[in-house]
Subunit: 410 residues, 2 copies
Amino acid sequence: MDARDTAERNGDREGMRAAPTQEDIRRQNLGALLRRVHILGPVSRAQLTAGMGLNRSTIGALTTDLTEAGLVLEEQPRDPGGGRGRPSLVVRARSQRVYVLAFGVGVDRLVAARVGLGGAILDRREIQRPGGPFGVDETLERLAEFAAALSEAAAPEARCVGAAAAVPAMVARDGGELRYGPNIGWRAEPFGARLSAAAGREVVIGNDGDLGALGEHTRGAAVGYDDAVYIHGDVGIGGGIIAGGRPLTGADGCAAEIGHMVVNPDGRPCPCGSYGCWETEIGEAALLRGPGRGGTLGRDAVHAAVDAASRGDKDAEETLRTVGDWLGIGVANLVNLLNPRIVVFGGTLRIVYPATAAQVRSRINRTALATHREHLRLRTAVLGDDAPLHGAAELAFTGLFDNPLEFTSS
Amino acid sequence: MDARDTAERNGDREGMRAAPTQEDIRRQNLGALLRRVHILGPVSRAQLTAGMGLNRSTIGALTTDLTEAGLVLEEQPRDPGGGRGRPSLVVRARSQRVYVLAFGVGVDRLVAARVGLGGAILDRREIQRPGGPFGVDETLERLAEFAAALSEAAAPEARCVGAAAAVPAMVARDGGELRYGPNIGWRAEPFGARLSAAAGREVVIGNDGDLGALGEHTRGAAVGYDDAVYIHGDVGIGGGIIAGGRPLTGADGCAAEIGHMVVNPDGRPCPCGSYGCWETEIGEAALLRGPGRGGTLGRDAVHAAVDAASRGDKDAEETLRTVGDWLGIGVANLVNLLNPRIVVFGGTLRIVYPATAAQVRSRINRTALATHREHLRLRTAVLGDDAPLHGAAELAFTGLFDNPLEFTSS
């Protein structure tokens, strides 16, 4: 098989496509306006006119269409301000009426949420199991139960417009097959098809690192940054890359396997089959490797290890220092390769990074290029453990923004 | 300073912009058609109609506009085929009439070319200096002389529509300032402004690795691959990344500094100030480090080292094996991080990679994830040492495709 994309062979490359038609444009403008309200929150017609570079009557026609489709409401502003003339109507997403289902599969927890248009989590279900993982069948069963309960609890007129799940595994580009998840022990699993069948509607699947990046880029620490790296700590290390404002997917949809960047060729074996992968040096196991710290992995164990170091436990301090060193080396590599403006630490790295920030910065100063670190920001995830869940919700909303009216009229 | 882009702060994020106006669309279609002829070569109106998804009369109007602007010619097909009806006119770029100037600064050579619309090198000038580098002043002087000679030799009615230069250095995003070029010893040099002044017209500056990637993606080994990595060997190791069909630039325009990915934390010091950077393990110095091989770097020395190994020189064999190992480790990291479909070896790596292919593949098989290496291709650059030069030409043509008529009417 020639691996080139069919579209490419036909010459449909970037910059050689025809411009969109009038119909495309209307659909694109409806989607852009709705997405704007979804991301930025309630916004006046005047702000939409200024922000989108369209004239007032076009904005009026678009909002009328979206209102009639039941996607937005228009209302008088709460604070009409002191200006002359009639205050501009405020457009607001109908978040209770239009929602998606978002699922998050972690090594030691399963979570599901009903997320309204506008991005708010309206309802959620969660089950934890320290030491996990959950098997595939049990995961499907629990998530299907959660989906039923969440839909049940929604208002009768509410409409589900999409569903997506974040999984700690590589996912094939078409969004269905789960290729390989070393830390949950799944491999070549048609998880998308099975979860869709169990939940009674199509569920798109995404990698948790990629969706964490999408979540933080849309509503978290990386809002407004076109070039961002998200690093997700769990048993393994996942990640997601935003480049030029767009998620970097790779040819198979499996980019940003940052946990399997080799940083220490003489290092420990990794479950992936290689040696010295970044996740063998900074994953939970590395932190809990010290004497007397064998046993169950997980968030509590990571907290305990960091607490022990802060209380002056020499072994814990030493281990944490080593982890901080490797964390810095890996971040510096990503910085030199991708030149991001911000690096966001999520999952258990929200605990580890603040405790090792000095180490990390020092390594970056020694290893990252001056040009690349000059404006670099390092931050912990704003959405906490829910960054991938929020990303899954954004993924689930994609179809709605591609075609707002057709999507809701069926 | 808040590092977020102004556009981002105003909410002009991907997917929230208004669709283009009628004028935008015409300009976009003219640019898309012209770029198609530039990239794909002479193409019939019928093929344009099918390929661009526009109707025949629109294609006719667009080609008429471009013909009147002197950018393309329409002619009868050489082989009209056996079909019924009038054969479709063939649209061809006027490559002798419309050209750009492309410059390439290497550690040990300077090159300049007149490149016609359609991508052919019409004329070139080159100066080599084994052991280089050239100083900034001398570089400017030589390139300005080349530019004058190339313009002089062009037909009187020929029109230069842009100029760009590839440099072995990090270049600020606005395309002017050269931030840091460790292997040519330049730092914080307003090279774009100085070369523009010397050449008497605006010259855009780009990193040689980025432009090598652009060249190979447009006209070389990576044509048709949306996700590609180009690795350029010279004294140092540069590179360029194509992700989702677009060049990955990074926040400051300095992405893909792949030579400064740390692969061996216990390794040798690098001119950048860090230790064990990839270029310390696979750059020319690493290959020429063996006994009796001190002295001048450069292409000839690399050839000699590889020849020595193939003749059975034990030291040379050992050195080459070690370099091949590190080359494989670095490529595997890039593969896990970026999930490209193809990796292209350019510059002196066109000599080194074929001689170490077994080593490289073996390391990739041990280190890269199975999902990522399944469809992976490894190739040498088709454009040879001129990949960055071709990339510079493409960069120089950008303005023309953005607005073909206005660009040529002034």
